[in-house]
């Protein structure tokens, strides 16, 4: 067997994934090949070092409040949704009343009223366009791959 293939097997030897036959192949080879035996020993030392590597642990309190943080954020989202809907309703109603007042005011020139209606029409078209784009993107979002 090629040395590179044996080295690949040596890499997995201590992970317990080799079949008994593969282990015998490795053991028989390293008994006769000094370079692969050296690789086997070095890999052993490397694994010992890696097994001692640990990621930094956070304080224990972090785990005690972890779920509370997730739960609160889940609840807060609902609050934000209600707030947003309420704000939109107030904004639209207020805007409607203001525009109604301007349109019905005979002292305001017609050209100004036409300009205001143009701005409003443009805003509506832009909002609809952005909304459609977001829906389009959402339908093709990458998380779709994690669904069933």
């Amino acid at each position: 067997m090629e040395h590179e293939k044996i080295k690949e097997l040596i890499s997995s030897y201590r992970d317990g994934v080799l079949s008994p036959d593969q282990k015998k192949v490795v053991e028989a080879h390293i008994a006769q090949c000094e370079s692969c035996r050296k690789e086997f020993e070095e890999m052993g030392k490397f694994e010992e070092v890696m097994d001692k590597m640990e990621l930094k642990k956070p304080p224990k309190e972090v785990w005690q409040v972890y779920w509370s943080s997730v739960y609160n954020r889940l609840e807060r989202r609902i609050g934000w949704i209600f707030l947003s809907i309420g704000a939109i309703i107030i904004l639209f109603y207020g805007g409607y009343k203001a525009i109604e007042g301007i349109i019905q005011d005979p002292t305001i020139p017609l050209i100004l009223k036409a300009g205001l209606l143009g701005v409003l029409a443009g805003l509506v078209v832009l909002l609809v366009s952005i909304g459609r784009e977001r829906i389009f993107v959402r339908q093709r979002e990458r998380y779709k791959e994690v669904e069933k």
Binding site: K7, K52, K56, V70, V146
Partner: protein, 199 residues
Amino acid sequence: MQKETVLNGDAVLCDAGNRMLDTKGLSEREILEVVQRGNREAYQEIVVRYMQSAYYVALAFVHNQQDALDISQDAFIRAFRRIKKFDTEKPFFPWFYKILKNLCMDYFKRRQRRNEVPLENVPVLKTEQEDREMKKALWKGIDELPPEQKEIIILRYFRQLSYQEMAEISGKPIGTIMSSLYYAKKRLKGIVGKYLGFE
């Protein structure tokens, strides 16, 4: 309001009336089915079960403890929002892991990665200075691995997952896992080797 009670140093599940939710004897699939019916309290069992894994995977990717905490919690929130689309016949963690990993990748796009070495100060070599230098070099080496190899190293050495588990999570065959791990170890062994007396 959800209450958290601590028994023997561990968080336990309580509902708003501070009664313990009885999820004993329920399989993960059954718990997730309850969650899919809109029960947020039942989701606690899933979060508590996987919070440490989520945190440490995020930490290995983003290097910063606070960011890892935020990202892991974000991942649980996103998973909850998508939970109705989850197939409860399949294990939760591989599905959740993809969400978590995508959030970590998004993190890199939004901000520069912090150059921190998020390893515990467990002595490995004889002197503290050599130890510090070796860990810094090793972490830099892990960080510079191609993404697939880096992912496998993180899952193998910092979550102690088996080859089978890594194959499930990554969606790759075991043969590919073995090969990626071999090339990653070869590279990292070269870095660590000079501190251990071999090249």
